[in-house]
Symmetry: C2
Subunit: 251 residues, 2 copies
């Protein structure tokens, strides 16, 4: 079903030029998938395009390929959706949020620390989340792997996604949504908290920065469930998860 | 935030009567949470009500309590949503689907085997999934733990949820949804496949039984992502995940 194996190449790609796989992508191609000279693979450079390429040589630390064809991937969401989530203590849950957000089509992901979160981020953990994002992008046939960034406070996180038209702040103690999530159109920033949720001051801060608080209902959702549910609902509303809502505008 | 510790008691409960905790619930209460004589806990009997109770004695294999008060839990979804999912090879992913479906408010869960699924179910695995459902119900403060059932073929699974008003069949190769998922009202059955997806024959079978096929869009979602995304979208449409869609009818 998935067709050609997919890899993120170094630098920008163009038809007729050489491409190089190095690092993890090289190791995975050579040692796990046993890609060899003459094999055809699909290369991605994060531009949104997909490139067919033939392996011309396999060296000790890199693989060289000839790019033969470029295609529009066609799997990217038409609408920009950004997710900012409270960084969790449990590494698996952070990876889970990133993986599912990528599958569902999110364009940018920001993990942040906030008042009630006590998890500690470092370079290695952030690189690991970026690796999860790349793997998820390949698996769901996206041609762009969203970059995962880290903000050490909520304000920076909110500012980093505040260019979006819709700014949605999921708040555990909010009982009425300030915006109709089912009726959004255009670019959308989604913010969900960590295990501890948000403080009243943090909600006020979000309001001052133009975010609307929404409730996810009366059951207590785990942080990672809230993130995935919110992304699912927003993507559906935007016509990016099936053809239900929003599709009328596009046809 | 969660208040009193929650346990599923044996049998039906009523105010003024004795209640008994045994088995896993007893072990967890006594050995993990160190609940002792005189402590107050919240008991659930699956009726949808919550019962405050005081521990009167702790025996070797059971704990006896006096039920002092009954409350309407108020966390259950107002609409019946059933989820039937293709049983997966990876135990964690099955547990993940069950856990998230319970948090999101699903009332009944059916795992099934189908043409392209090769996972093997047994009594222990099914009991494990039911335990996951109970734990998730307690964690999200639901007062009913959905029962997880198993059907060894798709037809039985479809029939087991076909009393629902809306019958939704998520199909990987479907490009246009046959029903507007965002506009559903009333009881809803959601069906998603395993890693291998469904065959054309299985889709035909679902249509013959009154199910409408829907697409979840152009990205390839993992089976467990599809399940959680579909439940999220349906719950939102039904007004059960926040107050966005559907809430007008209820107020």
């Amino acid at each position: 079903m998935a067709g050609l194996k997919r890899f993120f190449a170094d630098g920008e790609l163009s038809v007729g030029a050489e491409a190089v796989l190095s690092g993890d992508e090289f190791e995975h191609a050579k040692n796990v998938l046993r890609i060899a000279v003459g094999d055809e693979v699909m290369l991605l450079d994060g531009s949104g395009k997909e490139f067919s390429a033939i392996v011309s040589s396999v060296e000790k630390r890199r693989m060289v390929l000839n790019v033969v064809r470029a295609d529009d991937g066609g799997r990217e969401a038409l609408t920009d959706v950004f997710l900012a989530f409270g960084y969790l203590k449990n590494a698996d849950k952070n990876e889970f949020i990133v993986q599912k957000a990528v599958e569902l089509g999110v364009k940018r992901i920001v993990a942040f620390s906030s008042q009630y979160s006590s998890a500690f981020m470092n370079e290695n953990k952030l690189e690991r989340l970026n690796k999860v994002a790349r793997e998820a992008a390949k698996q769901c046939l996206r041609s762009v792997a969203p970059k995962v960034e880290y903000c050490s406070d909520l304000k920076s996180a909110l500012l980093s996604v505040s260019e979006a038209k819709n700014k949605i702040f999921a708040c555990e103690f909010q009982t009425e949504s300030q915006t109709a999530l089912g009726a959004i159109t255009g670019s959308t920033a989604l913010v969900v908290g960590s295990e501890g949720g948000f403080s009243k001051e943090e909600q006020k801060l979000s309001e001052a920065l133009g975010f609307s608080s929404v409730t996810l209902g009366k059951r207590i959702l785990r942080a990672e469930t809230a993130a995935v549910a919110l992304v699912s609902v927003a993507m559906f509303a935007l016509g990016e998860l099936g053809d239900g809502a929003g599709s009328e505008e596009k046809i």
